[in-house]
């Protein structure tokens, strides 16, 4: 098993935001996490990635069988967990090309023998960002919504992770960008067989990735789990709240 989240309780500034999450993921599996705003989706993503302000008060996170609950953000990343941020910060003075090299574990200012200097270029092409235009752009500075999401993908592709945690890769992007993102992820999954946890509000991105399972979060808990084919039409018909209520009644 790649990931096992056991009875995860998380507090931020004293307030409990996750109240006992249990979920697991296999190698090469795609799982979708859905749910209304403030249901705990991003909290889950940032907790998995190890952000220190998200304090695990109970439960644990196992990655490839190893307890990573108290490991730092960078340790988890190097173990193979990669987070694509929902709203990544802009960083002045750091070029996207350099950021991609750094994400790949290289030092752009002091390359080692064997480092591929063309890697950033190749990866930018994979997410449809023209290398000539984007290699020297400062990370996320002046990027549109779609450009930010693609820059996120480029960086985590460079990490060659075992698990991608994609926090709303489709929010705030136009239909063209959505297509690019969907195709890039689909292609990456096909070639790398990397597991993906996709947090989203919309079915569009899922049409490209066809998750094997979906979890619907509500109030910091998993309220409902099912297959994409089973749950997606119901979400669209009833909305989260009614769907959860009806499922509870059943």
């Amino acid at each position: 098993m790649l990931l096992s989240v056991q009875d995860l309780h998380v507090r931020v500034e004293g307030k409990e935001l996750l109240k006992g999450i249990n979920l697991s993921m296999e190698y090469g599996e795609i799982v979708a996490i859905m749910g209304h705003n403030a249901s705990g989706k991003t909290t889950l993503a940032l907790t998995l990635a190890g952000f220190p302000q998200y304090q695990v008060s109970e439960g644990k996170i196992l990655f490839e069988g190893e307890d990573v609950t108290s490991k730092s953000i960078d340790e988890r990343a190097r173990m193979g967990m990669a987070l694509a941020f929902q709203s990544p910060p802009a960083i002045r003075g750091i070029k996207l090309g350099h950021m991609i090299s750094l994400s790949a574990g290289m030092n752009p200012w002091q390359p080692k023998p064997g480092d591929d200097p063309d890697l950033p270029k190749k990866i930018l092409s994979k997410v449809n960002l023209e290398p000539e235009k984007y290699l020297d752009r400062e990370v996320n500075v002046g990027f549109s919504g779609g450009e930010r999401k693609r820059s996120e993908l480029a960086q985590i592709f460079a990490m060659r992770p075992k698990l991608m945690i994609l926090d709303e890769p489709d929010s705030g992007v136009d239909i063209d960008s959505l297509k690019v993102l969907g195709n890039s992820l689909q292609e990456y999954f096909r070639t790398e067989k990397c597991s993906m946890m996709i947090i989203t509000h919309h079915r569009h991105i899922l049409q490209y990735l066809k998750p094997s399972r979906m979890h619907i979060l509500s109030g910091g808990k998993i309220a409902l789990t099912g297959s994409y084919e089973e749950l997606m039409p119901k979400i669209e018909e009833l909305g989260y709240e009614r769907l959860i209520k009806e499922a509870a009644n059943e």
Binding site: D74, A82, F85, P89, G93, G105, Q155
Partner: protein, 410 residues
């Protein structure tokens, strides 16, 4: 050289030898020697240190002026570069009588004890001049090197960009790491003539036992542009400098960019003053600093608007990495005309945790991530600087990323 004409400066200087500077700690210079000891060689350490400040002694890059302590070891002239001449200042003053009209004209010899001592105990310095209408592509490089402990280096530099010319000068000032307790009170006078452009890049790389009091005056004539890029990333004992630009001709411009990495117990008191004297003149000073260790940084800035349609802007951006260090921004705007537009902006804060975590989420260890962010914060995109020099400064900043300096204990 017959020194008769200099007598009045000497006399003025004598009146000011005990005059304290308006800013910074008072340094007692009486124990430092200015008698040339001679014998300084261009050994490997000298070559390495000068490369660190961007000066290539192999001379591939263009004209080179190289001064160790007081002896000029190398003055590969501009005979190789069309349109420029470069030589030790005393030689130039002998050669050109007209140059006396530029001596102590951009700043006053009696400004304080440091200008006075620079006159009384002058140790060479360089003269660089671009001929009228010459666009000099190759940067001219100069290096002032202190190789002996206890030495006071007091060069007097004069740079003239003649009418319509373009000149690019890179100067490195450095001290041998083995030289204990050194002092530098360099005087620099810059004259930018009508429609000329002078880009002056200074890389300071002192030892942590160096007392530094540069004194700089700039005069920019009509349509002229003066751009100063100042970089200091190594520790220094105590530096104080307040270069002042006088924009005397209509439409003249001055821009100062400073990039400082303050570490250890460095005391750094730097600023820029710009007088917008003529119509349509504009000035800008951008100061970026990162402080660590127990360093203390003061960024002063003053823009004085004295004519119509003038514009000035001061900016200080500070990142404080250690709570034991401090950054103080002291901007002053003085409007002496109703049609002047002056602004300042200062933002000092700690490293943004959000950015640090973002880099760590890419698998970058925190120490390296801090280095990358510091480098990014200071990385300027210096205007008017040839790509090669830009890259050189970047590679110096990259040292911060690679080395452990940001982790230096607070």
């Amino acid at each position: 050289m017959s020194d008769e004409w200099r007598k009045k400066y000497r006399l003025e200087a004598l009146q000011a030898v005990t005059k304290r500077s308006a800013y910074g700690n008072d340094i007692d210079l009486s124990d430092f020697v200015t008698i040339p000891k001679g014998g300084a060689d261009l050994d490997e350490d000298v070559k390495r240190r000068s490369l660190e400040v961007g000066v290539d002694l192999e001379g591939k890059k263009g004209g080179t002026y190289f001064q160790v302590d007081h002896s000029v070891l190398l003055s590969q002239l501009a005979s190789r570069i069309k349109g420029v001449e470069m030589m030790p200042t005393d030689e130039a003053l002998n050669k050109y009588e007209w140059l006396r009209g530029y001596y102590w004209k951009a700043l006053s010899v009696s400004q304080d004890k440091y200008t006075a001592i620079a006159e009384l105990r002058q140790t060479k310095g360089y003269f660089i001049r671009s001929a009228p209408n010459e666009k000099v592509d190759q940067p001219i490089q100069a290096c002032l090197y202190i190789g002996t402990g206890g030495v006071l280096q007091a060069p007097h530099n004069i740079i003239i960009a003649e009418e319509g010319s373009e000149l690019n000068v890179i100067t490195g000032c450095t001290a041998d790491s083995r030289a204990k307790t050194v002092a530098h009170v360099g005087v620099s006078e810059f004259y930018v003539k009508k429609n000329a452009t002078l880009v002056f890049t200074m890389i300071h790389s002192w030892s942590d036992d160096a007392y530094v009091r540069p004194r700089t005056g700039v005069i920019v004539e009509e349509g002229g542009t003066f751009i100063s890029n100042y970089v200091m990333i190594k520790p220094v004992k105590d530096i104080q400098s307040y270069p002042t630009a006088h924009l005397v001709g209509n439409g003249a411009k001055a821009k100062f960019n400073s990039i400082i990495y303050a570490s250890k117990d460095s005391i750094i008191d730097l600023g820029n003053r710009i007088y917008l004297m003529a119509e349509g003149t504009s000035g800008e000073s951008i100061f970026k600093v990162v402080s660590t260790g127990t360093s203390k940084v003061y960024n002063r800035g003053q823009i004085i608007g004295q004519n119509r349609n003038t514009k000035g802007h001061l900016e200080c951006r500070g990142m404080i990495l250690c709570p034991t260090s401090s950054i103080t921004a002291i901007p002053e705007l003085v409007a002496e005309h109703s049609d002047t537009e002056l602004s300042h902006e200062a933002a000092i804060g700690r490293l943004q945790e959000e950015q640090l975590h973002y880099l760590m989420a890419r698998g970058i260890q925190p120490e390296q991530a801090i280095g990358v962010l510091v480098k990014g914060f200071l990385d300027p995109g210096l205007p008017g600087l040839p790509t090669r020099l830009q890259e050189e400064i970047r590679s110096k900043l990259a040292l911060l990323e690679r080395k452990s300096s940001p982790q230096e204990p607070c």
